[in-house]
Amino acid sequence: MDAVTRADLAELRRRVRLFLRKKLDDGAFAPLIDPWLTGWDEVFSAELADRGWVGATIPKQYGGQGRSYVERFVVTEELLAHGAPVAAHWIADRQIAPSLLRFGSEDLKRRYLPDIARGRCFFAIGMSEPDSGSDLASVRTRAVQVPGGWNLSGTKVWTSNAHRAHAFFVLARTSPPEQSRRHSGLSQFLVDLRSAGVTIRPIYSMGGHHHFNEVHLDAVFVPDAEVIGTIGDGWRQVTSELGFERSGPERLMSTFTLLTEQFTARSGGYSATTRGQTVAHLAALRQLSFGVAVELHEQRDADVGAALVKLLGTKLEGDIVEDAALAASDIPAGGPLGEALMQRAGFTLRGGASEVLRGVVARELGLR
């Protein structure tokens, strides 16, 4: 790790922590389960941005802080550890800004990055479709070239917070796949969710919440200027960012507040050895996750580490819920544990199902 020292990180952590503890004391938010999906709070996001903690890795020329990926790691893990409502800016901060920086045109960077860094521009992701889950290469949303741009038609699903976001990235097919390369012919577009032809339908989760949506695109016009990167290069663009998406603190911290409760409530929760084992597992996993962050920071290949963090981390998030549930009776709906039980099933699915991740690691080990 260069440029950023451990002392710098400790100081940054101290400032973020101080801010969050004050917010908690002021009652500005109640600690949430799965806060990066369920905690939509635009005021809070803007406040974080004002402190330079949203879009921190965006270069200063585009309105960001020009900070490193490990600094972002520290900020985000503090936010999650305190259960802060970070969903509004999460996708823009984690995925959209880095993608725009890497693949976006100068025009797109100037138009979107400053508002992302200000915590005022929110994004969703349009990858999955009704018939394309783990097998993303099978997407059927089509982009047809028209004068000045493209017409997109198709249906995206599990589009978290599309009903609140300003825009989303859409993976669409621009030409038929070549025989031997099914990942060819895919492209990425930036689509304004208020465009004509966009219909957003809520999908309610089993806990009764609305964060998922089905987004129907009916000949939605997207100008050439809003193509991300290169036409036909969509698959490479999407997969090259997976390390960032899979290895971050949100893959192990989604239920952290439930674990801290086991130490504060003293309500006859799980046994001391189970609790100790869980804490140790989490602490080690956090080191593994931090190690991957450092690898990404140094621009080294971290795909296996990232897949393992997500594989182990999302399982552990669920185990924390399970241990609490096994030690509880008469679990009320709407409480933290009840919420966690409802959210849990998604942990090991979103961002790459565990079965798929095992396949990724198996390939890297030379097993397939």
Binding site: R6, E77, T273, G276, F290, R358
Partner: protein, 340 residues
């Protein structure tokens, strides 16, 4: 996978790998005896006292260096008590300001009359930390004056029952912090060995499943088999990350809470990782892996033995819990994030 790549010099890692790659299988007559050739090499290269201070004749390596060496030892199932000699006995000798000669081993006991001492029958010196209520005494024995009954752990490694002479060569009273550090040093020693053993089981599994043909293809082609191996790989990386972090945390002393937490964490994780590696490792190897004809058992039995030495894995789970419970509220998160 490049264990401890951030903290340990690459040339040193290469040296560890090369030296321990020459570790010998046990001979038919003495399957679990000392690998004297390897021990001589370690002495000649200064690795036998890797973490000792230069004043005490050591090589002044860091604990991270020591952990990386133990990883290599675990990976090779090396029949040398290098951890006991260096991290434990060597440290005790420096702490008590006594000079030791030859191969030294160390153990703790709650009696002044007897102790189970690893490798005692091959050692010249035994450092025994006797803890009785309210008092801790460090005793140094010449093993030629001890009555030793050979014993073994699950893997056949020497764990000898020793009757201690009434008068040690040296004896000093030490504080409770020495007895405490002994436990944490033992925990890191075992964790690093386990990390190496886990990595070896993983490599053996990869080798086996990609060469063993059933149903007309290598069994690695079967997804169910792939997943068993991947789950071992996950535990290897997890344990290595925990050991690496713990070794870094103790660089400035073993008594601070974050250092203790990191070591206890590594020990807990290593113990549970063994569960996955041993069970899945044997599962993918099939019947041959359960025999003495195949080397798998040398590693799986060591993993099972090591995770129960210097306290059970459950005790270390409990210690992690104690360290968190000793604080309040956000203490848990403080401990997890201390030191980067």
């Amino acid at each position: 996978m490049n264990f401890l790549n951030a903290d340990v010099d690459a040339e040193l890692l290469t040296l560890f790998r090369e030296i321990f790659a020459k570790a010998q299988h046990g001979s038919p007559t003495e399957p679990n005896g000392l690998d004297r050739t390897l021990w001589s090499t370690l002495q000649e290269t200064g690795l036998s006292r890797l973490t000792g201070s230069e004043a005490a004749g050591g090589s002044a390596g860091t604990v991270a260096d020591g952990a990386a060496m133990l990883h290599a030892a675990g990976y090779s199932a090396a029949r040398v008590p290098v951890g006991e000699h260096d991290l434990l006995a060597g440290w005790l000798a420096e702490t008590a300001d006594v000079t030791i000669s030859g191969l030294a081993t160390a153990a703790s006991t709650d009696s002044h009359r007897s102790a189970v001492i690893p490798w005692a029958r091959f050692a010249d010196t035994a450092m025994v930390l006797a803890s009785t209520p309210g008092s801790h005494e460090l005793m140094v024995f010449d093993t030629s004056g001890c009555d030793i009954t050979a014993g073994a752990n699950l893997a056949g490694e020497p764990r000898d029952a020793v009757s201690l002479p009434a008068v040690p060569v040296h004896a000093v009273t030490v504080g409770p912090e020495v007895a405490d550090e002994f436990w944490f040093r033992t925990a890191l020693l075992k964790s690093a060995l386990i990390a190496g053993g886990l990595a070896r089981v993983l490599d053996m599994c990869i080798e086996h499943v990609t060469t063993r043909v059933q149903f007309g293809k290598p069994i690695a082609a079967l997804q169910a088999v792939q997943h068993l191996v991947v789950d071992i790989a996950a535990q290897v990386r997890l344990t290595e990350a925990a050991v690496e972090h713990a070794a870094r945390q103790v660089a400035n002393g073993w008594s601070a809470q974050p250092a203790r937490f990191a070591v206890a964490t590594a020990r807990s994780v290593a113990g549970h990782a063994a569960t996955v590696a041993v069970r899945n490792g044997h599962q993918v190897h099939g019947a041959i892996g359960t025999t003495t004809e195949h080397r798998l058992h040398e590693f799986t039995t060591r993993l099972l033995a090591w995770r129960g030495e210097g306290g059970s894995t459950a005790e270390w789970d409990g210690k992690v819990d104690d360290l968190v419970s000793a604080g309040v509220g956000v203490r848990l998160w403080d401990l997890i994030t201390e030191g980067g």
